[in-house]
């Protein structure tokens, strides 16, 4: 067997993160290699290095045994490496054929030779066994067909190594099956495929070899027929908890928030959350684990009244709130720490005090009916800023100038400081925050739960879930699955649920 692509000792660091740590792997020609790992494991960074989008800090790339260096994706394409991104790069009003040939169109004089263009695209599609209506306008065809066009776009340019970044994330099940048939066809014709995914079931179905990454390192490479979901899940997630547990499991109190049969659509009007139920109890921290994009965001937005429900009921202390506005839901006692703190968490252009009052400015004592009651607002802001240790030059400082950790403290101070909330919903509360800030935020959530609130923490970081939660649920393809109470084996149950939707493993 000949080697199509190999990388040796690739290291790539971003400020604060070692995304790829000394990675070496080699892929045989005409095989499908899956690269699996959790969010942030470094898969996409590695692919971007291979595709020339990033330049590695150190290490070498070899194609067909010869060392190459890329300064841009164009170099990579010229060397026969093509990448299909999660977000397609297609022009909506062009036909599929036009998109596939864009940039390398057959010409007749100064004009495009449309008949030749259609014919050449058809020829490539036939050669690799792709079903495609090349004359259809892109915006009118299904996502699966658009993806086929995107793959053909690479093949049209003579690519021999194809990198697919989470290709099944946007596909329906039937489209996924069709894709796999096509990928098999490609491999038989000598194309080499790198397939990034975190869905182990699919990976086991399609690949020849599987490389597992965790926290920027290559954990190992296994042959597909010699492994199973259990082994892969363990390799992906690891056994040891980094950072340690901060929480002692507490006895839960009474029921505060009931979520029953919740269904929600995503921005494309596809089902994002299906018939999900969850109860939150006083004094309990529930962790919501799961790979990003399994319905977490939509679920949380629905709870806050930011996204309409298609069905389901939400109750706080027995009262239904699903019809209420976001303000009314907050007044009913829900605090929210959103995942995108710069867009939804604070007004970055606003001052610190302005970001402390959005929930309060319209009620006494912070409003005197006509205008803001500035002395009270300043007093309240100043007290909370101190209590939550926000490092800022003053209450009039621009919030956007603070560090991520300090912005998160501002949000926590606003949401938790007045101690009005009975339920706290925190989405990715420590993403991108330094260690000290992370610990502080986690401690705030624990303290708040200890005072009798129900806390729900959603995080793609499994260590965070394990460090905080009394009980864990897992988001998997729009379902909210119960992983049970914290114990020694919960990590394994979570990893199975995250990757296969089942909390057991058949060896």
């Amino acid at each position: 067997m000949t080697e199509a692509l190999s990388v040796k000792n690739i290291t790539k660091a971003f400020p604060g993160v070692l995304a790829n740590d000394n990675i070496s792997l080699s892929v045989e020609k005409g095989t499908i290699r899956a690269i699996v790992g959790e969010n942030g494991a470094g898969k996409t960074t590695l692919m971007n290095v291979i595709y020339g989008l990033y330049q590695p800090d150190s290490g070498q790339i070899f194609i067909n045994g010869e060392e190459v260096t890329f300064s841009s994706p164009r170099d990579a394409i010229a060397q026969g490496i093509g990448m299909v991104h999660q977000h397609f790069k297609l022009v909506p009003s062009y036909t599929l054929a036009q998109n596939i040939a864009l940039g390398v169109e057959p010409r007749k004089g100064i004009f495009i030779d449309e008949p030749a263009l259609n014919k050449s695209v058809k020829a490539i599609a036939d050669k690799y066994g792709f079903q495609i209506n090349e004359r259809e306008v892109t915006v009118d065809v299904s996502v699966g067909e658009q993806q086929r066009a995107e793959i053909l776009k690479a093949l049209y340019r003579g690519v021999e190594i194809l990198v697919l970044d989470e290709p099944t994330a946007v596909l329906t099940d039937i489209e996924t099956k069709e894709l796999f048939v096509m990928l098999r066809n490609l491999v038989e014709q000598g194309i080499t495929i790198l397939f990034i995914s975190h869905k182990l079931r699919e990976v086991l179905e399609i690949s020849d070899d599987i490389s597992v990454m965790r926290a920027g390192k290559l954990v190992g490479t296994v042959k597909c027929e010699e492994t199973d979901e259990c082994q892969l899940a363990e390799m992906m997630v690891g056994r040891e908890t980094i950072g340690g547990r901060m929480r002692e499991t507490k006895q839960k109190g009474e029921l505060i928030m009931e979520i029953e049969g919740l269904s929600v659509l995503d921005n494309r009007d596809l089902t994002a959350v299906k018939d999900a139920s969850l109860n939150l109890y006083s004094g309990e921290i529930v962790g919501g684990a799961g790979v990003d994009g399994n319905g977490q965001e939509e679920f949380v937005e629905a709870l806050l009244g930011l996204r309409p429900l298609t069905s389901g009921k939400i109750r706080i202390d027995g009262k239904e709130i699903q019809e209420l506005s976001t303000r009314e839901i907050r007044e009913a006692g829900v605090a929210y720490i959103p995942s995108d703190r710069y867009r939804s968490g604070v007004a970055v252009e606003g001052t610190i005090w302005e970001n402390m009052v959005p929930g309060e400015y319209y009620v006494k004592p912070y409003s005197n009916g006509l205008a803001l009651a500035m002395p009270e607002i300043m007093m309240m802001s100043g007290t909370l800023i101190q209590k939550f240790n926000v490092a800022t030059p003053g209450l009039d400082a621009k919030t956007g100038n603070l560090s991520g950790g300090n912005i998160q403290r501002v949000i926590a101070a606003r949401e938790l400081g007045l101690e009005k909330a009975k339920v706290v919903i925190a989405s990715q509360p420590t993403r991108g925050i330094d260690i000290a800030g992370t610990e502080a935020i986690r401690q705030m959530l624990i303290d708040y739960a200890n005072r009798g609130a129900a806390v729900f923490v959603i995080s793609a970081d499994l260590d965070e879930i394990l460090s905080l939660s009394d009980r864990v649920v897992v988001f998997y393809e729009g379902n909210v699955l119960d992983a049970g109470y914290y114990d020694e084996t919960i990590r394994q149950r979570i990893s199975w649920l995250m990757t296969s939707g089942k909390d057991y493993c058949v060896d």
Partner: protein, 321 residues
């Protein structure tokens, strides 16, 4: 007004006038289409045309030929478009703000130059301005009706229609246009295949300047041979409405331009019949509102049917096993 015969309003000469009125709008529309396809909504069409009108007069007086005037206008408008492009593409200024600023500058600049070069205020009209001559098309001008309608126009009237075809060919049939349009529609796609997106945006703006120069020259060197303050009188804005109506496609946008031209001609005609001039002058803009309303309704319907179609595709394949 009540006993005016409709047939005395809707005469052939009205339709001929409509073509004439539509000419500058069509030029500006084609120019705007070019920059719109690179993703820049050019609101400076009005200003570009006004600059073109003034420099056409200047060039005509200096060179003694309308073609010299056209050349002056083209150079001036390309410079104006280049200033726009540099402000937006190099200095990252918001294109809407830059466009609005250019419109204001155009009024002030032409007024200032009018005084500085010709030493007059408001209007400059003299025999020194040499305009274009009407063209009689052989054979066609002898055909009854059609001859009266199509023959005897100024050369730029014909060229405005030719420009529609050229713009269509360039945008839809050449690799250049193909790449240019991809910049406006999905800049990631354009970049991923190696298109120099910034250069394309320069081209888009420069072509819109070029075509506005033709429109401006027509205004001041054809039917009228004069320059007056703010003589474009909103035609650049009508062009933007036409682009919007035609969804950036040359022929439908041209049709919108013709409708606006017809409204303009009708307004002039109705004035002769004693309709209050305030109402008459409103007519082209009223027409614009109606046309845009219709196009918005049509676009909304299209969008809905597209969403329905996409949903059908998604429903056809179940989400889960």
């Amino acid at each position: 007004m009540g006993n005016v015969d409709l047939s005395s309003i809707l005469t052939l000469s009205l339709f001929a006038a409509a073509l004439r009125m539509a000419t500058p709008i069509i030029f500006a529309t084609m120019g705007g289409i070019f920059s719109s396809h690179t993703g820049i909504f050019n609101v400076a069409l009005e200003g570009f045309m006004l600059i073109g009108s003034f420099f056409a007069v200047l060039g005509s007086v200096r060179t003694g030929s309308p073609y010299g005037g056209l050349l002056y206008a083209v150079i001036a408008c390309l410079v104006a478009a280049l200033v726009f492009a540099i402000l937006h593409l190099e200095l990252k200024a918001n294109p809407i703000i830059v466009g609005l600023a250019m419109n204001i500058v155009a009024i002030g600049l032409t007024n200032y130059l009018l005084t500085a070069t010709f030493n007059v205020w408001g209007v400059y009209k003299t025999d020194l301005i040499i305009g274009f001559q009407e063209v009689q098309i052989p054979l066609i001008h002898q055909i009854p009706i059609i001859g009266e309608l199509l023959s005897g126009h100024f050369p730029l009237v014909y060229f405005s229609f030719v420009s529609v075809y050229i713009v269509y060919l360039v945008l839809y049939k050449t690799p250049f246009g193909f790449h240019l349009r991809s910049v406006g529609e999905n800049i990631d796609a354009a970049e991923s295949i190696g298109v120099n997106t910034k250069r394309m945006k320069y081209y888009g703006l420069l072509v819109s300047g070029l075509l506005c120069a033709f429109g401006g020259t027509f205004l001041s060197l054809s039917y009228l041979t004069m320059f007056s303050e703010d003589m474009t009188a909103g035609r650049g804005w009508l062009a933007m409405a036409a682009i919007n109506f035609g969804r950036m496609r040359p022929v439908p946008s041209m049709i919108a331009g013709l409708i606006f031209g017809f409204a303009d001609a009708l307004a002039v005609r109705l004035q002769q019949f004693g309709l209050p001039s305030q109402i008459v002058v409103m007519l082209p803009y009223l027409m614009t509102v109606i046309v845009l309303f219709i196009s918005a309704v049509v676009a909304e319907r299209r969008k809905k049917s597209l969403v329905a179609k996409q949903n059908k595709i998604d429903i056809a394949t179940p989400l889960q096993p």
